[in-house]
Symmetry: D2
Subunit: 345 residues, 4 copies
Amino acid sequence: MIKIGIAGASGYTGLELIRLLEGHPETELSVLTSETYQGKSIADVFPSLNGIVDIELQALNSEILKSCDVVFLALPHTTGMDLLPELIKSDCKIVDLSADYRLKDAGAYPEWYSLTHTHPELLPQVVYGLPELHREKIKSAQVVANPGCYPTSVILGLAPLMKTDWVDLNSIISDSKSGVSGAGRKPSITTHFCEANEGVNPYGIAGHRHTPEMEQELSNLAGKPINISFSPHLIPMSRGMLSTIYINLKKNLSDDDLIEHYQNFFKDEFFVRTLSKDIFANTHFVSGSNFCDIGVKVDTRVNRLIVTSALDNLVKGASGQAIQNMNIMLGLEEKTGLQSPAIFP
Amino acid sequence: MIKIGIAGASGYTGLELIRLLEGHPETELSVLTSETYQGKSIADVFPSLNGIVDIELQALNSEILKSCDVVFLALPHTTGMDLLPELIKSDCKIVDLSADYRLKDAGAYPEWYSLTHTHPELLPQVVYGLPELHREKIKSAQVVANPGCYPTSVILGLAPLMKTDWVDLNSIISDSKSGVSGAGRKPSITTHFCEANEGVNPYGIAGHRHTPEMEQELSNLAGKPINISFSPHLIPMSRGMLSTIYINLKKNLSDDDLIEHYQNFFKDEFFVRTLSKDIFANTHFVSGSNFCDIGVKVDTRVNRLIVTSALDNLVKGASGQAIQNMNIMLGLEEKTGLQSPAIFP
Amino acid sequence: MIKIGIAGASGYTGLELIRLLEGHPETELSVLTSETYQGKSIADVFPSLNGIVDIELQALNSEILKSCDVVFLALPHTTGMDLLPELIKSDCKIVDLSADYRLKDAGAYPEWYSLTHTHPELLPQVVYGLPELHREKIKSAQVVANPGCYPTSVILGLAPLMKTDWVDLNSIISDSKSGVSGAGRKPSITTHFCEANEGVNPYGIAGHRHTPEMEQELSNLAGKPINISFSPHLIPMSRGMLSTIYINLKKNLSDDDLIEHYQNFFKDEFFVRTLSKDIFANTHFVSGSNFCDIGVKVDTRVNRLIVTSALDNLVKGASGQAIQNMNIMLGLEEKTGLQSPAIFP
Amino acid sequence: MIKIGIAGASGYTGLELIRLLEGHPETELSVLTSETYQGKSIADVFPSLNGIVDIELQALNSEILKSCDVVFLALPHTTGMDLLPELIKSDCKIVDLSADYRLKDAGAYPEWYSLTHTHPELLPQVVYGLPELHREKIKSAQVVANPGCYPTSVILGLAPLMKTDWVDLNSIISDSKSGVSGAGRKPSITTHFCEANEGVNPYGIAGHRHTPEMEQELSNLAGKPINISFSPHLIPMSRGMLSTIYINLKKNLSDDDLIEHYQNFFKDEFFVRTLSKDIFANTHFVSGSNFCDIGVKVDTRVNRLIVTSALDNLVKGASGQAIQNMNIMLGLEEKTGLQSPAIFP
């Protein structure tokens, strides 16, 4: 069995890793860390695990983590930045769910994260873990930077277009809607029930930290620098994310043309489902699963393409994709432990 | 006292008219109609009215409605289309909350509503009841077509720009999010709790019926035909609507420039509030009120303006605006009965 | 105009006082305090007040508050305990929304609140502000202790029975369900959106601090000591409270008998509505209003009475009742500013 | 592989059977029926199944169902009453999720369901499928009547007490709270989003159809007839059920005494988890799973026991328990396909 360590096990992505790995036939949980709850059993923190997992939470410690075959870093941003150089000295494979190593350009960290990267020398060897784009590199990577939830939905929604000459690359807009779990488990006014319930809360418009991550990947695909508008919104639901993406068409294309193109592009991808004509992506049908559903619709009156891209921010947008990356890194069947359909309702 | 009739009193906009008119010092409810619940007291349908309003619901009847000073038509689309010609023979003022008389071009009805308008000869005399744009005409109108909720949020969000040469009029996109009450009270799969809860549901993208209404008013303001992309989404909340509107700038303008312009444009408008720099509109702070809050933000990296426009779909998006129109038509102070702040949380 | 001071204006009950007093024709807001936001305008804290209220928040200061005619203490428990003795030296009337002076027995504070009351000498002169029970005393009181939300729903639901010999006073159980706003605005794990959404969370069973308050009032009515079981639950909604109350009948009584009795008991009470046969209280129809709806049903198979009692925890359960008390204390019409029906949906 | 038929596959319990059986290693879906959607693929009805299940929905037909090894009847009440006599002529095992064969006393159907049972002769051979009580009988049953969601939560919560002499059997009350999915997928006013959201809705108090089912099983356990009070409430969440159960103690017992007794009673039951002292059951931690969590607390001031019992109404309250029954009937390991922890948040 593959021994698993999870640093930051008492957050939502930590719990989701545990939930999913419990259904994975090849892994066993070995080390769980939590600064807040160290000394407690994980089942005391999350009673859903009673009778299923009974592991004591430890303080963060690179030596202990090194004893694992795979380490998931589900830590707040920057917490693991200096831990990684320690971990890579061992043989363990590492999937980092934070943003610490996602951007290839060290110069982007001061601008978007207001910090200087402490280990820019490691950035080249860390693979951006979007399997649908970088599967081959992931296979041989020791460290994968697991994509953000917003970037996963937007990049997958646009990837099939980036190498075509069908679209105006200067016109990209993503209007994205997220459930509240994306903000983590730490209490705040914004995530207080009464402040999130019964309202739509736009935030970070024209300045959200996930923007450079999307632009990095889209630019790589297109072969030239792309800037986009990205507008995230907090929606009163616990899970789920929908990106409604707008891009101008440079030639006349029908819904059928585009659907065929998307289906072809994703034909070998189990976790990306192109929807039928006139069907839009709906977060209900991916919730709890590792799928990303993509709907494609041409607004013929203005010759603009509208892509709807839905995923579960905690699964394909975080922990599920992290396990997908692990499977690839270890040479396991990529779908292992991730085949459950969404839970609905 | 002004005698009020409400046709379609047992729907959500009917109830909201009653709630708001109960706080209006110059009106008294006289006639309430409902096909579904005729013979019952309105307080049996909506127990919130127990001890406050006790009026028996009647079948729809133009003769009885004519006895009122003001009639609100809160009926399903097309139900009141043939009722209006009867009502205007009397002296009563009419505010029609349906879409039946909103479009000036009778030819738009077959395309967008799949029906032939039965009284196109009346369209010219009906005033589109957005007070911030058409106050003078409303003053002398006998019939006002009350705007849709989506159009109110989008038109108010864009109106200050339409006569400028600052923006690319071909680039307008509104990504709008609505609470479920906008779909009315009739049960359906889409509005079933479990199908709307915990999910974001895009619908009617590139084909929603409110599109021509927005284009009519925006084109009139701009002085030339405008087509836009409009993407509505159903959000798991009962009330509230947010439109996130995108438009490309043709010159360099700062947030401050635009905020000043908006504030100036709306300086005499009590119900439209331009928000401070870096504040986005949030449905929480308009819920239950007749306000429309507008936030303005330039995405300088791509020189695109992003407007957030929030209102309560049942108040400024329907019944509150209808009363605002009534006040104007009757020469009352426009704010009468409509000054309550939002209910939060 | 009556000058109003609100200590603790930046919490939910503070905001609700402001919202309701804005519709009160005899009052003007004079002093608002907030430790957290002092120096800011209240409209910056709650943008719903933009264009309506623009008052700078001050630090808590008894001298400034004394300049008001009426002071509402909307402070966390114990914060105002030592403020009250200062305030009562002035002429201002005081409504304390905290629990600090609700219990007549100073000895109950150590047991239920884990503290020693610092001014037990004042307890006798503070009137428990449930108008339906203590209207006469409230008229001449300088200080009123505004009841808790749970106690209001339970005491009103049981009051008509307490002086009868129809019920077994040892059998009282209240199973109560509350929206999350009852827990205040301070973020915590319990009130984090994802922890409250999509779940029912029982808490404080057999030990909640509102228990002695209910028992005090019920015992007074019955003329002998009563102990009850009280089980509160947190429900995923922002506002609203339902108490489902169980009490064994000692004689055979029909629904009609009991409804008639309740209607008679509350016949002069505008804010308490006894529902018709087979109608249960539903929080929807009191939300945003000062009403308490009461449904009565006999479970004939076991001869047990089941009372459903619904109110809005922030209105009749807090700020609305506080204004009702103010009206009585000042000799105003009791309903002034409080007649709006619930907002639904 | 075991061939599975599901009659009524397009409802919520049908979909939940499919979701859970997809994770079951020994079964394959063979026949799915739906009157509403016959001819469509199940994945067109529930897009969550895209890429996972692609089976065409058929009209209800006993001959086709007989070809299966196990048939689940997930039909509206009475729809399957006359189907069962046909099905039992074959060798297939049947789990009926409806109420049609739950009550042993045919005379209870007219009283509680307003109908005359058409096949009372079959009632004796149908086993009430609560595995924790009737495992032995289920092993050899051809037909199991799967318990209702409310009864499962209440019976499990009380079972450990029924054979003791510790409690007053005349004092049982269950105050139960359910998510809206328990009402099924058919749209209605009650389940309309705006009518269920942001409110608590008690219904069926002192008359709900699940009452005789609870009384049947509790009476059997106690060895004498028991009547209880049962009060269901609709809560604004999709899934989950909590029963707060009250019963008077006849002797002095501590929390520890009772917890030990419950833990002992359920010591061999994987799916029933007795919670630690001062922990109440919370629906969050069972949602999506087949667990029933039980909290035990003595209200010492009144010597009353308060049991909190939480489950997922669609899993342990319906489809999960149905699969648990299937596993037992077929001699499989009882937990097969049902070991996933809850999904949280």
